[in-house]
Subunit: 259 residues, 2 copies
DNA sequence: CACTATTTGTCCGTATGTATG
DNA sequence: TCATACATACGGACAAATAGT
């Protein structure tokens, strides 16, 4: 019973609209996916779990049965319930302090698919972010990045018109960063905000997750040499396949933390 | 009915374990809190909503009644249902390249509450991260940080025993960073991973969100002068109240992006 | 081999919650 | 508001598989 702490007890709430068996299911699943319960680990007996969480054995059984049917557990009479899910955090990790959607950073093993490219009227927050005039149009690109054929990132980018170089054909064969460079646009300032959102049905479909699943979101506004914002990028990432990673050494911690 | 798109239709799933009235309740609440439905806006009639979402009128009524009782809506016979919730987005933004849980960075307007402090056997991923011996115990602290009385961050930290200075009393009066400093522990390297997770029931309760809501997660392993990891911190943040923010200038983009 | 304790599988009856028309 | 159907949750009882003595 060591894997289940006292704090887990309080997290099962009978008055909550979500059914008890599903709350317990989610709790155990998270412990498995998070690495608290690893392959081969023995789950306490239904009787013990029921007593510990103050629910009936049927409720525990339903939760564990659901996890078994999804391949997380294996259950046998007399033998008990064991974890079969193999925990291995296999995520791409990008250094945070660099241009994240460049192939050089990502490595060569990822592919980008252009979903849509069109000149559109930008939404209000893009108008604000890029400091556009009321009726100015921009080029919007929707892209999905995959690794080993599995999508892990969705980009929506709005770019102010910067000459004839940024076309659908060019985007399909080159990275945006390369295109910028070729067009003589050198990014000087990058303003970046990191947050989390729930997947809507569109994003869920494109990233092959369920609607409502948590996603990592990075909003980035890039400006050129003269400080004019030219690109507004919203990147959305599957947290199980992609995470941001950064190392800080002493000088960074002290100097950069001082401001 | 303009506020409710076709996408929303599919997000109500009868086969999902959570009851329909609660799924609808959550959907409308998110639209209100997200600013899609603002103060004064008229919600479509129960009959229309029921038809649109393919559920019974009673289900719609239950969802709207719950929102009314929480102060999001006002409902009157003959007048319809109107939004009373006042939308104002106010998020704290912390620079990413600094020690995020120090008061100096956060500003003085936040308060930390110590929920629990105990010497425990660490979970496997902490054993790995801190390179601990199999039976070594560590000090675990659970804390919640609030701004204006509203919680926005939850920290779980595991610290290797570093002398008698790290006690419950000390933690309640000083920041962990100050304590480290006083104990002669100088953090040299910080290894940081940013991701997103769904709130479990415990986190949901402590951060006053719903279970399943997306949260920003930062995992940080800090090491001392000799490169020995001494602290494993998992910070979880409400994305509507806290976001990471960073500015990169040209030299950063070029030099730091090169590695 | 039997015997026993443990653990999961299956079934019953009942009460409450959810959702429909 | 009512009747109906189904899902959830409980306590209890017994059967079947497994592991150890």
């Amino acid at each position: 019973m060591r894997a289940f702490q006292n704090e887990d007890r309080a997290s099962l709430r009978p008055d909550h609209p979500s059914p008890l068996y599903h709350q317990l299911y989610a709790l155990v699943k998270r412990k498995i996916e998070g690495g608290d319960l690893r392959q081969g680990a023995l789950i306490p007996a239904e009787k013990d779990l029921a007593q510990f969480f103050g629910v009936s054995r049927i409720t525990v059984k339903r939760a564990l049965d659901d996890l078994e049917s999804e391949g997380y557990l294996s259950r046998h009479r007399g033998r008990g319930t064991h974890v079969t899910y193999k925990y291995e955090p296999k995520v791409l990790r990008a250094p945070l302090d660099s241009m994240l959607d460049s192939l050089a950073v990502m490595g060569r093993e990822t592919q980008v698919k252009l979903i849509d490219f069109a000149r559109v009227a930008p939404p209000p927050y893009v108008v604000d972010g890029l400091r556009l005039l009321p009726d100015q149009w921009v080029d919007r690109a929707l892209r999905v990045r995959s690794s080993d054929g599995l999508p892990f990132a969705h980009y929506t980018s709005w770019t102010v018109p910067i000459g004839p170089g940024l076309t659908q054909e060019a985007l399909q064969s080159s990275s945006r960063l390369d295109l910028f460079r070729r067009l003589g646009v050198h990014l000087k300032d990058v303003d970046q905000v990191i947050s989390a959102i729930a997947a809507d049905t569109t994003l869920a479909q494109r990233l092959v997750v369920r609607a409502g699943d948590p996603l990592l979101q990075v909003t980035r506004i890039s400006s050129d040499q003269r400080g004019r914002p030219i690109d507004y990028l919203v990147g959305v990432y599957r947290p199980d396949r992609f995470q941001y990673h950064m190392k800080l050494s002493a000088s960074d911690v002290l100097v950069r933390g001082k401001r």
